[in-house]
Symmetry: C2
């Protein structure tokens, strides 16, 4: 289970993939496999949360890394390249590096 | 605190706002205020999590609603319109309605 909190000392990556609806299931599986096989074993990995859009045209990965340094090291890791190339062959993507400013829940 | 889980019976809204860096703090505050004053009091609201991008050009709201019906009712609620119009005056936005397919954490 993943948690979101303001002022947590981490980097959040929101990666929005635009995909043809017929390729959405394949992209989802590719991201799940990349996370299980590679990402989650790398230093600083906290979580990856793979979402599929209701309309079929997007996939969103909401991922958490311990630090910007860990994230940058991941992108340069040779084991990550093939996963990224496979994703790029299926979809366009826009990674957004961010931090949580506020987390407001129903009870709060 | 917000939690992300696969197979949770809810609707996730990932709303990506594109903004001029000088307007990023104002947009963040607007979304926090809209959530505190209005959204969190509406039926079906679970959470809103406001993120600012490191590069200053984006704001991301990761929000959870109990159902699509609650989300649609929120958008038609007259109290929501002024917040949306204020956001639209500051930024372009792309709401993505989705569901969590998999949530993979470091321990899993």
């Amino acid at each position: 289970m993943t948690t979101i909190q303001a002022d947590a000392d981490m980097l959040t990556l929101v990666n929005v993939f635009s995909v043809k609806p017929e390729n959405q299931p394949k992209l989802v599986q590719l991201l799940v496999d990349a996370t299980q096989q590679t990402m989650r074993h790398l230093p600083g990995f906290i979580s990856a949360n793979i979402h599929k859009s209701v309309d079929g045209t997007k996939v969103v990965n909401y991922a958490q890394w311990r630090s910007r340094e860990d994230f940058d090291a991941m992108r340069l890791n040779p084991s990550v390249g093939p996963h990224m190339q496979a994703a790029a062959a299926l979809a366009q993507f826009e990674p957004i590096l961010c931090e949580v400013v506020d987390s407001i829940s129903e009870g709060k």
